[in-house]
Symmetry: C2
Subunit: 149 residues, 2 copies
């Protein structure tokens, strides 16, 4: 399903850099993740992976996201709804944050350097070095005339 000499996805490269064994399944999952700019849960990831390579089991997807998370490649998120969702981890600085539309549930990403430094400052003052930030604000679209639920 993939050309033997198609270049590996960025995440697959990252895997290799971390010294993880690069199996076909991991390559596929890494590709699917590199290709996603949303926040899929495991079920959804599995669905996308199977389209690339049908010989993947959901157990492998679970095992792989866990492995990737432990290696700092992925970050697990909880947006409610009972299932863990995943996204590619940010670099060391410039974390991004999530705004969740209270009406539609849609997740909107944003960045803000002022927020970055304020948070870093607060944490430092409390005697800690910042490792990760998990921030999601839930918001309701500002009322405009004629708008409805």
């Amino acid at each position: 399903m993939k050309e033997p000499n198609s270049p590996d996805s960025p995440l697959a490269e990252l895997c290799r850099q971390r010294g993880l064994k690069l199996t076909g399944q991991r390559r596929t999952i890494a590709f699917v993740l590199s290709d996603s700019d949303d926040h899929p849960d495991v079920e959804e990831l599995y669905r996308r992976a199977v389209e690339v390579d049908p010989r993947i089991s959901i157990a492998t997807v679970y095992r792989t996201v866990r492995l990737f998370e432990e290696n700092g490649i992925l970050q697990r998120r909880d947006f409610g709804g009972g299932r863990a969702r995943y996204e590619v981890a940010d670099g060391d600085h410039g974390d991004h944050y999530h705004l969740i539309d209270a009406d539609s549930g849609k997740v909107i990403e944003f960045e803000n350097t002022e927020l970055d430094s304020l948070l870093a400052g607060i944490v430092r003052q409390m005697g800690y070095d910042l490792v990760t930030t998990r921030l999601s604000v839930v918001g309701r679209p500002k009322a405009k005339s004629g708008q409805r639920e």
Copy 2:
């Protein structure tokens, strides 16, 4: 187990204000929650509730925290670990935030008005009214000489 004329806990009062039927079990759970300043999961809540009134089932605890959450009395939190955890909801302003100690897993609450207004401003600029903020920063205690992993 409780005096018939012992005053209701603040949360039980809140229940009544919201027009929720105030049963013995709900009163107990409200009491336990009012009495807690940490972030118990359902299992832990159940444990505490049973000590106050042994004729409570865990299904009721699940049903009650869900009801309380839907009514803005409780907020569900995810600090990792697979179980939802709960805390009493903040008022309309002055949300509080969580710093999680990366080494011990301990949850430390903090408030910061600068953060409050920065967030409100960001969200407003994106065209939303802020409903809730879920912020937890993971931090590692600042390295001091002689400190070790």
